[in-house]
Symmetry: C2
Subunit: 145 residues, 2 copies
DNA sequence: TAAGTTGTAACAATGCTTGTTTCAACTTTC
DNA sequence: GAAAGTTGAAACAAGCATTGTTACAACTTA
């Protein structure tokens, strides 16, 4: 099982907004062209990023902008905005353990804390990188090409 | 996107094998009863755990056993045995970034290292817990019931 | 030999991800 | 005000993965 490609697409989108936003209007069509992701999906992602307070878009006038400095947007923020793991977490539990079995009755309790710790470890690692670093690295590579 | 319930089911299965293995024959039917997971799925999981060298099963004679001490089996081992993330990792990349776009051409390079670090953080956390601890915690809770 | 069990293949059901079409609402420009 | 371009959103389809189910050969033990 894998984390959706919407996450990497969202980072790609944000990077484009930051890099090209100065010189041109970054529309969902343009972003679709750069990412290879369907324009409607791009708009969906932008909608989720907007709900999370990461970008600003307006109906009619094309062009998305960051809602806050790139240095204040972490990969974790993007991950949370786009993936819907909030409700039940990254791990999925088998749903019907038998309450009549002493193991089935308690396995949830025993594992939950550890699964949360593992998920937190992933998320904390994502918190370490900001969009500003992604943009800086990308610009550096472009310059060296 | 979530990690398969096969993972938690596998831990449940191993816990049962360790706790009940002394007193009775732990068959896939019994495990199906405790986990609430279909017996064929249980056999599939057992097959993956066997391939990974974690359990021993034999056709005909019922009853699975651990192939090594519970203290030497980490949650990570179980995760690797059961999830098929080896090939492409936990994160999925959007597949067709545009090579004509300087961002699309390089976003993979920029993100890969960070995604690997995040995945490694998750896996390292899973390495910290052994089956022996899960079993000990479960026994403790059962005793307190 | 009979009963119980594992290993495995094939198929169905369900749900998730992504793509596609369509259209109303909005902004900008002419 | 009209036209062109854009966003937001709903509805639906295609593809894929997960899980369940059925079926059966191969094996072990009694």
């Amino acid at each position: 099982m894998q984390i959706t490609s919407k996450f990497t697409a969202a980072v790609h989108i944000l990077t484009c907004i930051e890099i090209f936003g100065g010189e041109m209007r970054v529309t969902s069509d343009f972003l679709s062209g750069s990412t290879g992701v369907n324009a409607v999906i791009v708009r969906n992602v932008l909608g989720q990023l907007r709900t999370a307070g990461i970008v600003e878009t307006r109906q009619g006038s094309g062009g998305a902008h960051l809602a806050k400095p790139a240095g204040e947007i972490t990969l974790y923020d993007v991950y949370r905005a786009v993936e819907c793991t909030d409700d039940d977490g990254l791990f999925r539990f088998h749903e019907n353990p038998n309450a009549k079995c002493p193991v089935g009755r308690n396995i949830h309790k025993v594992m939950d804390g550890r699964l949360e710790a593992a998920q937190a470890a992933l998320e904390n690692e994502l918190k370490k990188t900001t969009l500003a670093e992604i943009v800086a690295d990308t610009k550096k590579i472009i310059k060296e090409e």
